[in-house]
Each structure stands twice: as structure tokens, then as C-alpha cells.
Amino acid sequence: MMRGLWKLTWIEIKIFLREPLGAFGTIGFPVLVLGRIAGRRLAPPPLAASSFILVSLPVLASVLIAVSAVLSLVTIISIYREGGILKRLRATPLRPQTILTAHVIVKLILTAATLALMVLAGKRYYPVDVHAPLFSFTLALLISTWSILSIGFLIASIVPTARFAQPIGAIILYPMIAVSGLFVRVDSLPPVLHAVARVLPLTYAVPLLQGIWNGDAWSTHVGDVAALAVLFAVCTALSARVFRWE
């Protein structure tokens, strides 16, 4: 059923690392920026740091990591489609879901690696005493990324060419962050935006990430995890219907 999954995943990781800007651009660069510019130039945050820096900033950074992973997936899928790579892979016993799963795994590994490096850099440059449950937080981020990736499948299914993939993906994904409750409480949004926010995975990912960062038990976020799982199932089912291989 999933024949070839691990081999393909491993090859895709190697290919990603061979991209001139692949590993450095997606993982190294953000960390470098965080360290070099923010760490050196800015004064360390005062002891009574605002709750934004302590809770929202890590969550925002994590959400950005997740979204950039999704954008990268959208771009790769559209490049693979446009170049006929998907078609060539399809003309083998390789199942479509195996190809997509391999890419999802690559993106999840990438997300976890970026997060780990950010945390290390954060510890190095920000003398802020943070006692966040990192393992649980990583898990929460991976669950969130997984769910947002399904939106990525949908976008990847509809973008006509690779040239449009990145901008269209960004246009759809970044406003999702605005209504996710990270800046403005979802309840206080106008009715239309509120309704939209209710069906977007980020709306459930943000409280999950914030809660876990603050040390909440998983049991208090069963609803969020369930909503993320449902959205994942719905989007995956939808994209399976509209997905084009060429």
C-alpha cells in the first residue's frame, strides 16, 4: 500500500538539502536573523516582558514556520506537476497518497528542525527564562502543521502553474493568521470573518499552541485537536477529488 514511502521520503529530504537555498533559506536564515539582528542589536527584553513576547511571539513564530512549510509544499507540488514529475511518478505502482505523504513527512521534519533551532537560538540570545513544555509544544505544532498542510493540498490542487503557487498560497495563508485569534480575539471579529475563522485550521491551532506553551494539559484542548483532525479530513477528501496530476 505505502510501498516506497520511506525511500521516497529519504530521497526528497536529500533533494531538499541539495537545493542551494533549501536548507539554509528555510531553516538557517530565520535563525540567523533572530540571532544576529534581534539578539545583538536589540536590548534584551525587560524582566517584566509583555505577555506578547512571552506567549504570542513564540506562537506567532511557530505559526509562521508551519505556514512557510505549507507554502513550500504548495510550491513543490506545483513544480512537480508542471514539470511532469508527478505524471512520471504516477505511471508506476506508486500511489498518489504515498507521494503526498512523503512530502508531508518531509515538511513535518523540516518544521520540527526549524523549531528546534529557533528554540536553541532563542535560548542563546534571549536571556528570558522560559519553562515551556517543549516536547508537547513540538507535538502541538506538528499536529497544527499537519492540519494546515491539508489546506496546502487544496491550494496545490487549484493553482494553475508553479509561478502562481507561492503568491496565491501566501494570499490565502497569511490572512488566515490575521483572523486566527493571535492578534484579535476570534469572538470580537465581525460576523462574516468570524464564520470564516471558524472553518480555518489556524483558529484551532493558535489556542492549542498558546495553551500548550502556557502549560495547559492536553485534556483541555481535545476540542482544538478534534477540530484540526476534522478539517484535515475534510480538506484532504476535497483535494483528492480536485487534485490534478498534470
Partner: protein
């Protein structure tokens, strides 16, 4: 007891591909229509025609990559649409204009492909050697030349030791030397008892490689047969050009059976006629009349001429 040749052939040859009444449209464009043919086990079958004639569409319907609007297809007893994975396990496919990941290495691609099939793969290293790619095994796909990419795709099509191999425009863009090497390789596939289904717009390729060809134009099949029989059927004209200064020659040539025209220009005769026997008859006439010739050559029609005759235009137009 009168068994026709075709009845005998049908009992010996097992069709591995059966296509019947296939029609495929894209919007209002009819890509292929009423396409029917059979491909027998162990033969090299070519679908020939100009670009846009419907070759690739037909092939991709048979491979299970496209679903025909009408008609039925059976490959190795399987329905390519319903049993697509089962089928793809037993066939090898080389697609026109396919790409791989830019930075995948040659050996990684073979390694991945080898793992995808149920059946044990054949030796990838040996395959690379056969295809002259051994020194490129560690190269990235994006750094291969057009011919090397094409040979890698052929290697990927053969890695699972398939029962039927599909090759779409396999030598397009290759230099004559690599082309010949690949023809030998395809003959080698047939020698191992496999069936080859290929498309080409190169008449020379079809003539040298294919046991049988189907000529397709505007999505319809015009004729199917062995290349030489297509030539005999549609272009029976034969031409002999020879040089002699013997004064009796012209009258003798006119008396040769099958000859339709004798043209003399500068001691050079152009003898036109019909039928396979024309050349033999001309040689017999030369020998019986002791006519001394200083030059002798024959101009025989080929598939290119057949195509021109059947469609009214050259395949390159």
C-alpha cells in the same frame, strides 16, 4: 481443411493489448476516434503518425493514465482503468516530455523505481552499463544531457523486467549513434520475449524496428500491417536506375515484364515499374542480353512514401 494464414497466426500469437473502438475528446477536440487494434505477444508494435495525430493519447489510455470516453481496452487481460496498479506493476512506461526531480541522482531514481514493483527488479547497475550511463550514476538529473535523460527513462521503464514496454517517441532528440544503440536495446527486449509498444514520427525508426505498424492521422487509424506489406500494398512502384552505352538496351528494357516507363538521359536509364519482381526481371534481362552496365541502383519506396500516399502530405509537415 482450409486454414487461412490469419487463423493460424491468431492461434499462435496471443494478443497482449486489445483496443476496440476507443474515442477520447478534450473539450470539443476529438483526440482519437474509433481506434481499434491488437498487439501480439513478443512483437514490436509501432503507432506512427505526425505530431498531434493522437499517438500519445492512445498510448496513455492503454497505460491507464487517461480514461477513454468510449471503447474498451484490455492489457495482459486487465482493464487499465480499473486495475491500474495491478497493470502498472507488470508494464514499463517511458513518457514523452517527462521530468524527474532536478537534483535526484541517477542511481537514486533507479533505486526508488526498483522498490516500487512487486516483482524483483533486474540489476540496475547492469542496466546503466547497457545504456551507457554507468559513469553518470552519481549525477543529478538536471545535469544530464537530453540523450542521457532519455536513456535513464528507458532504464526506469525496464527496471521491473516488464511484460509489456511502452516507449513514447523514445529516440526524439537523440543523435544517430545513440538512436541506433537504443534500437538494439529495444530489439534485445523483444529477444527476451517481451512485447514493445512504441510511438514514433520517424519513419526510418518504424521501418527498422517494428514488426507491425499502425498509421494514425487526425485521431484515426488508416492502416495496420508489417512495414514491408504496407509498402507493397500502397506503393508497389519500383525504380531501377542504371548506366549503359549498349544500343540495344532500351528496347530490351521496354520488353521486361512489369516495366511501365523507360527514360533515357545521358546514357542513364530510369526504369519504372510495379511489383517485387521488377528488379529481378531487370537483372535477368541484363544477363540474358549480356548488357554491360557501369552503374546499377534501385530506388524502393518506404514508409515515408506510404504515409505521403495515404495522407496526401509528408509526415514532417
Amino acid at each position: 481443411m482450409h486454414l487461412s494464414v490469419s487463423t493460424i497466426l491468431q492461434t499462435i500469437m496471443r494478443p497482449v493489448i486489445q483496443v476496440s473502438g476507443v474515442r477520447k475528446t478534450y473539450g470539443k477536440t476529438v483526440a482519437v476516434d474509433e481506434v481499434s487494434f491488437e498487439v501480439n505477444e513478443g512483437e514490436i508494435f509501432g503507432l506512427i503518425g505526425p505530431n498531434g495525430a493522437g499517438k500519445t493519447t492512445t498510448m496513455e489510455c492503454i497505460e491507464g493514465l487517461r480514461t477513454p470516453d468510449q471503447g474498451t481496452i484490455s492489457v495482459l487481460g486487465l482493464d487499465p482503468f480499473r486495475h491500474v496498479y495491478k497493470l502498472q506493476d507488470r508494464i514499463g512506461v517511458q513518457l514523452q516530455q517527462a521530468q524527474l526531480q532536478k537534483r535526484i541522482k541517477v542511481w537514486e531514481a533507479l533505486d526508488l523505481w526498483a522498490l516500487l514493483y512487486q516483482k524483483k527488479a533486474i540489476d540496475g547497475e547492469h542496466l546503466l552499463e547497457q545504456l551507457g550511463l554507468a559513469d553518470k550514476r552519481g549525477a543529478w538529473f538536471m545535469n544530464l544531457s537530453g540523450g542521457q535523460k532519455q536513456r535513464l527513462f528507458i532504464a526506469l521503464a525496464l527496471i521491473n523486467d516488464p511484460e509489456v514496454v511502452f516507449l513514447d517517441e523514445l529516440t526524439t532528440g537523440l543523435d544517430p549513434q545513440s538512436r541506433r544503440a537504443i534500437w538494439d536495446l529495444v530489439r534485445g527486449i523483444r529477444a527476451r520475449g517481451k512485447t514493445v509498444f512504441l510511438t514514433t514520427h520517424l519513419m526510418e525508426e518504424a521501418e527498422r524496428l517494428c514488426d507491425r505498424v499502425a498509421i494514425i492521422e487526425h485521431g484515426r487509424i488508416i492502416d495496420i500491417d508489417r512495414p514491408e506489406r504496407l509498402v507493397d500494398r500502397h506503393c508497389p512502384e519500383r525504380t531501377v536506375v542504371l548506366a549503359t552505352d549498349d544500343p540495344i538496351a532500351e528496347d530490351r528494357f521496354r520488353a521486361v515484364p512489369g516495366v511501365e516507363a523507360v527514360i533515357l538521359t545521358d546514357l542513364r536509364f530510369t526504369i519504372r515499374g510495379r511489383g517485387d519482381d521488377l528488379v529481378t526481371e531487370v537483372i535477368r534481362c541484363l544477363s540474358e542480353n549480356r548488357i554491360r552496365v557501369t552503374d546499377f541502383r534501385t530506388i524502393l519506396p518506404n514508409l515515408e512514401d506510404v504515409f505521403l500516399k495515404l495522407t496526401g502530405h509528408s509526415i514532417r509537415e
